[in-house]
């Protein structure tokens, strides 16, 4: 889903929702069973010999105990972080007593994902068998998932814009992986939670860098007890990413001036100086007029304020929904004055768009931060990666 930017603006809705979820879960936890119900349970045994550590993501963390893991999801608001926690208890073992948290039995076997950002993670962890429901086929890029929907293995739970709660209940899933953005269906989530279907909210929009966003794959791995596999895969990604960073540090001297966003109405929303979107450009060594800004989301500027710098900026990244120079021209012919327009320096993230409106940048791109970074480096400093072809980014023509 291509909503990363916009989610920022709507955090409050998420906090409200989370408070609800927390209150709801703590109210319905009273199902502690006697240890004698679990004859094979060995309290001294470490059921999770392979562990993950969260090094980049600011959105979640995992604590390991003998037969259960505690998953913490953090929501950052200014300097304050809000926490929602779940107990992930190994199947066949009792939940710890005295901890008043919602319980999810792991490994999960049936999951519903409401965000395309999860799909590639399922695929990466060879867990497509556990994926039982998705939001809408229309937005999906992965041909595997599409064919699973067509064959009926995966069900669309939000075919008409609203979450179909009854479908999910009928599916009897272990967990719903939701999205923490405003349109997330508060009421539907509350309904699910009242029916003891845990909703784990993905909030990768608040990540500050590419690796942080990619690391959410570990959350899925934790739910699937696939720590070993994820550590292997993620360390490869990290290494690839680092090699690109090394290359930049070694070679790049000059940073080209870049602008972002596009005017809508009278205002032009550009990425904030602490935003994820700008961070991607920053690590690839681009100069940015609003680099000293403190906003983690986007900032609204007047048309002329951006126009003035846009005239001389070398690059223009992610101009809204514009996908061609003709688009740009038709939206407003004044864009033709821009240096980036004249020099074909306008790029968007529509390299792997599907006809239905899906975009693989928000799907596979999430777990391929090194490719995304290579794309950006290729745009700004083509001489560093002469052989690289743009994957997720595309040059507007």
């Amino acid at each position: 889903m291509k909503k990363t930017e916009k989610r920022n603006a709507h955090r409050w809705a998420v906090y409200t929702l989370l408070c609800f979820l927390m209150a709801g879960f703590s109210a319905c936890q009273s199902n502690s069973k006697n240890q004698s119900d679990f004859p094979d349970f060995d309290p001294q045994k470490d059921y999770f010999p392979e562990k993950v550590s969260i090094d980049h993501s600011i959105g979640f963390d995992v604590e390991y105990h003998n037969n259960y893991k505690t998953l913490h999801l953090f929501r950052h608001y200014n300097e304050v972080a809000d926490t929602v926690s779940f107990l992930l208890v190994q199947k066949g073992t009792p939940a710890p007593e005295g901890i008043d948290l919602p319980v999810i039995a792991v490994p999960i076997e049936k999951a519903v994902s409401l965000s395309t950002t999860h799909l590639a993670m399922f695929e990466l962890l060879n867990a497509l068998g556990e994926l039982k429901g998705i939001e809408r086929r229309q937005y999906v890029s992965s041909p595997k998932v599409v064919s699973m929907v067509d064959s009926g293995e995966v069900i669309e739970v939000e075919p008409a814009g609203t979450l179909n709660v009854e479908t999910i209940i009928e599916m009897d899933v272990d967990v719903v992986l939701g999205v923490g953005y405003p349109n997330s269906q508060n009421e539907s989530f509350q309904q699910l939670q009242r029916l003891n279907i845990p909703v784990v909210l993905n909030a990768d929009w608040q990540e500050v860098d590419l690796l942080g966003r990619a690391e959410w794959v570990k959350l899925l791995a934790v739910l699937l007890n696939k720590e070993k596999l994820v550590n292997e895969k993620f360390s490869t990604i990290e290494a690839e990413f680092q090699s690109v960073l090394d290359l930049i540090a070694e070679k790049v001297i000059d940073a080209p001036l870049t602008i972002t966003g596009i005017a809508q109405g009278d205002a032009w929303q550009v990425s904030g100086g602490k935003s994820f979107a700008y961070n991607v450009l920053k690590v690839a060594k681009a100069d940015y007029p609003w680099k000293d800004d403190n906003s983690t989301g986007s900032i609204k500027l007047s048309f002329e304020a951006v126009y003035e710098v846009g005239l001389n900026a070398d690059f223009w990244i992610a101009p809204g929904s514009a996908s061609s120079l003709q688009n740009i021209r038709e939206r407003d012919p004044r864009y033709m004055d821009f240096k980036s327009y004249k020099n074909r320096g306008i790029y968007n993230v529509f390299g792997r768009n599907t006809e239905g409106g899906g975009n693989d940048y928000y799907e596979t791109g999430v777990i391929e931060p090194h490719i995304v970074l290579k794309d950006v480096v290729k745009i700004f400093h083509p001489e560093l990666l002469p052989d690289h072809q743009l994957v997720y980014y595309n040059q507007l023509k």
Partner: protein
């Protein structure tokens, strides 16, 4: 009848004063903005001379100048639309949007923005060969025209203007309902794009579009001026107007059509800008203390332009990097003015 000539002189004086105010604010609007440009450079640019900073020149000539002209055109058009509706319906709260014209334009825009995501429409729109801002303008004009045809059709059947007013409001409601159903089934980004459009925008009109807008608005202004005598007769109500030889039905058609042209065009180019259409006629009436449309039409056009320029200057938050939505500013600035006038002069009710 010395007093009559005196009134004429006052009228000429007021119009001159308003004209000067308009020019002053026009220059001020061009001079102020996020980017600080020295007055001398602004003047030089406006006089057609070259200045060292070509970026500033672009900002003045391509951004601020068309926006200021748009503000004047939009203000004048909406005010005249409101004036005509208030006189036709003899209702102080009537505005250019009462007949559902704005709602119709919104429907057209919603059709483009909210449906654009689906496969079929994306392709059919591409085949049309139009895209971007012109598409929005064409869509909103078509939407406004659609509702206008409906309203005109109904207006031939209905004699009573009060009934007509209610019918117009209901048609607007139906149109808005259709849009909201559409919104419900749309993606957040598409809804956001639509919502941004509803905030209104004066800066989206580029030089090439400005020509079209100017021609439409000026046509509307001239038509309205031609309707002055008719509007005056309607001040006494339809029965009197008819007894004085006015063909009330055709007068109504003319007035509704003119208002639609004015309001439809502005809504198409600038989005739905509220309040100005209701407030300016009242401001103008109390400014000159007259109901004579031969005076009111030019006054409304000038006052509308002035108010819109003031709102635009404020919405640009001079000296800051940001902007405020024009639609909010027109309401924030205008409403207190109207309240003040009503309380002070107590003549709103007496006007009808």
């Amino acid at each position: 009848m010395n007093a009559i000539t005196q009134g004429k002189r006052l009228r000429a004086k007021s119009l001159t004063l308003l004209g000067f105010t308009l020019i002053l604010l026009f220059l001020l609007d061009i001079g102020l903005g996020s980017v600080r440009i020295p007055v001398s450079d602004v003047i030089k640019t406006l006089l057609g001379q070259q200045i060292d900073n070509s970026g500033w020149q672009g900002i003045i000539l391509k951004i601020r100048l068309p926006r200021a002209v748009t503000a004047i055109l939009a203000g004048a058009a909406l005010s005249l639309g409101g004036l005509q509706m208030q006189t036709l319906f003899r209702n102080p709260l009537a505005g250019p949007s009462v007949l559902g014209i704005t709602a119709g334009a919104s429907l057209g825009v919603a059709a483009v923005m909210l449906a654009a995501g689906t496969v079929t429409t994306t392709f059919s729109i591409r085949e049309l060969g139009v895209d971007g801002s012109w598409l929005i303008i064409i869509a909103s004009t078509l939407g406004a025209a659609l509702v206008l045809m409906l309203i005109l059709g109904i207006s031939f059947k209905i004699r009573d203007n009060v009934v007509m007013l209610i019918v117009g409001l209901m048609v607007a409601n139906i149109t808005i309902a259709v849009v909201s159903i559409w919104q419900f089934f749309s993606d957040p980004e598409q809804i956001q794009e639509y919502i941004l459009w509803t905030f209104g925008s004066l800066g989206g009109v580029t030089n090439e579009q400005l020509g079209a807008l100017a021609i439409i608005v000026l046509t509307g202004v001239i038509l309205t001026f031609f309707l002055s005598k008719t509007l005056n007769a309607l001040l006494l109500g339809e029965d009197y107007a008819q007894s004085m030889g006015l063909n009330v039905k055709w007068a109504r058609v003319g007035i509704i059509a003119t208002t639609s042209i004015l309001a439809g065009a502005v809504t198409g180019f600038c989005g739905p800008i509220g309040f100005v259409g209701i407030a300016v006629p009242h401001l103008s009436r109390s400014f000159l203390n007259t109901s004579d449309h031969r005076t009111l039409v030019p006054t409304c056009a000038l006052v509308g332009g002035i108010l819109m320029l003031v709102c635009d200057i404020i919405s640009q938050v001079p000296g800051s990097q940001t902007v405020l939505p024009i639609n909010a500013i027109t309401a924030l600035i205008g409403s207190p003015i109207v309240i003040w006038i009503i309380v002070k002069r107590k003549n709103l009710k007496a006007s009808f």
